[in-house]
Amino acid sequence: MRSIKTLLKIGIPTLLIVIFASFFVHFSSQAATIAAVYVYMNRVQAGLSTGVEYTIAIRPVTAIPTGGSVTIVFPDAEDGAWCTTAGNLTATGVTSSTADQSSGNFKIASALPGTLSGTCTKGSGSGSADTITITGLTALTANTTYGVNIKGGTGVLGTSAGAGEREVTVSVFSGATMDSKTFKIYLISNDSVVVSATVSEAPTVNCTISANSVNLGTLYPGGAFAIGSHTISTSATNGYYWAAYGQGDGSNDAGLWKGTSVTKLIPSTGSTTVDLNPANAEGFGMVLTQPAGGSVVPANFNLNPASGVFGALDMKLAGARMIIYKTSGAGSAEVSTVTYGAKAGTGAPAGAYSETVTFVCGGYY
């Protein structure tokens, strides 16, 4: 009896107050459009049954409380094509993505926070679509772009058949707080380009001279010999050789030639070497260093220029001499230093002397 009285005294007024207040208390749910989002897939080919991965960038406009989720909902009519096998996925927050803009809303600023778990569920009929769900989010700040990478696990991700647009909806929500956006991606029939190449069987040789003219310095009549250098470099698929011949005066011998009156040839005398050491000696010759890699410089050219003995050159095509060779095997940028030596005799007239050495380069047949 007493309890009924208490109920009447307290309960009824309370009820009425609540009813009265309910006219003024308005319950509202918050839903907004995601400010920026993209779905970056590792393949955009239609009809794949496995191996698809996603990187999602998402920028909510609303602060999302902790305990939230991210979902990607695929077209309703394509059940089982995007989530080919339902199951767990690997979801990992990422702080950047190759598809980012250089700055702005479409540049990931933070990894999607939380202990992330991903699942893929298949749709079943109308109103139920394949869905990727990521749970375990902690609080998201409004207007921050978050990134997450999703890979298959026990769940397998694919793409639906047929090239063209697909509408997907990405949502991020926690409780009644939700931002979402529906937009389109595009699948094509084939997202790969195959580049094929044939490397020719034809043998090749590449020859380089570092300088097409070399100064010999000052030639003192009856003085010490002078030297000047450049390099030659060779690359070849299967052996190479160099030969050289001079021009000289065009009729007698190779060597340094002064063509103006009084003419004078400082010859490259002999068939093997020219010794420029003796007091009255004059002549012109050349030596080479032997590069590593199995190439050979013939003995008469494989000399130290400081010795004053140089290999002798002959004249014109008929006088071509082998100066370096590698009979087999590939060679890559094998370098030899060519040093010319010259000495003028005491009777050498003053003037400019020059020689043109032609270097012949080739590969073996």
Binding site: V205, H230, A352, Y365
Partner: protein, 321 residues
């Protein structure tokens, strides 16, 4: 006074003037030269009256353009080195019996190679109808004409490269060769680093690629080494002499099969060169040389001698006692 001073300075000034006349003013421009070629050679089988077209690829990996004159002439080996080629002089070309230079035409006489670009030179070979069977040769050969600058004394460098062609006409060829010489480069060696020098002459009407081996035996007729002859398969032009060098090196005086490699050695060369039934044309020759590790021998002798002296001395001392 002033004139006297000037006269004295004259002598001082004259010498430098002479020197300067023979010296170079170091103001000149250099540039590099670069040429690449593919293929490095071409072998063709053709018939009289037949035509063949193709292209050679040249390239320039330097930073400057280079210009080359295009020459087509027969070629020869360089210093009897098989597998090498340099075009004939005009005089040699006039006398060359097997030059195919007149069969070949190219689209350009001057070729400019741009930096880091491949340039293709198209050529056509028209075999005359009245040509005899046999092998003919020619080379498409580029010689640079890009000149450097030089003031004073110095050397210019030209660069030349090309593609030699070996054109076999007909189906049957005479392959014949003569072994002119087989020897070692020295008679005695302290260490085993022997170069075998072989000289062959091609008497046939086509190029040959001789192959074979050199077998080295010791005084006990035990096989010490077996070295391939012309392992790099360098070819020998018809009517040419080719010098082949093959090397035998060994770090110790025991072969890998534990055979002694000291003392008088004999090397036997066996060469075949025919493409058809090569066993019916074997060239052979022998060469002898010595391997004398004289430093080791002297050391052994010194030790022995020392030992003998010590022993003898001891005995003498014992006898005295």
């Amino acid at each position: 006074m002033i004139l006297k001073t000037l006269k004295e300075y004259n002598r001082i000034l004259l010498l430098p003037v002479i020197i300067l006349c023979l010296s170079v003013v170091p103001v000149f421009a250099q540039s590099s030269l670069s040429i690449g070629v593919s293929p490095t050679f071409k072998t063709l089988k053709m018939q009289p009256g037949e035509t063949y077209s193709d292209e050679i690829v040249f390239w320039n990996l330097s930073g400057e353009s280079d210009t080359y004159d295009v020459h087509i002439k027969g070629f020869r080996q360089i210093e009897n080195q098989p597998g090498t080629a340099v075009i004939l002089t005009d005089e040699q070309e006039a006398e060359a019996l097997y030059s195919a230079s007149k069969w070949i035409t190219v689209e350009k006489d001057v070729l400019t190679l741009e930096p880091s670009k491949n340039t293709k030179l198209r050529y056509t070979i028209n075999v005359p109808t009245n040509v005899t069977d046999g092998e003919f040769n020619a080379e498409i050969f580029l010689i640079s004409k890009t000149k450097g600058e030089l003031e004073g004394s110095g050397t210019f460098a030209n660069l030349a490269a090309g593609t030699p062609f070996l054109i076999q006409i007909g189906d049957e060829f005479i392959e014949n060769a003569e072994l002119l010489r087989f020897t070692s480069d020295k008679k005695t060696y302290e260490r085993i680093n022997v170069n075998f020098l072989t000289q062959l002459k091609n008497l046939g009407d086509t190029h040959i690629t001789p192959v074979g081996e050199i077998v080295v035996e010791n005084i006990f007729k035990q096989e010490v080494a077996r070295i391939p002859f012309n392992r790099n398969k360098q070819s020998l032009l018809r009517d040419n002499i080719g010098n082949y060098t093959d090397n035998w090196s060994q770090s110790g005086y025991l072969s890998p099969s534990k055979v002694l490699s000291v003392g008088p050695m004999k090397a036997k060369l066996l060469v075949t060169y025919r493409s058809f039934q090569p066993g019916f044309a074997v060239l052979s020759s022998e060469a002898s040389f010595w391997i004398i590790p004289w430093k080791i021998i002297i050391a052994i002798l010194v030790i022995l001698l020392t030992g003998i002296i010590v022993v003898v001395s001891k005995k003498k001392l014992q006898r005295r006692k």
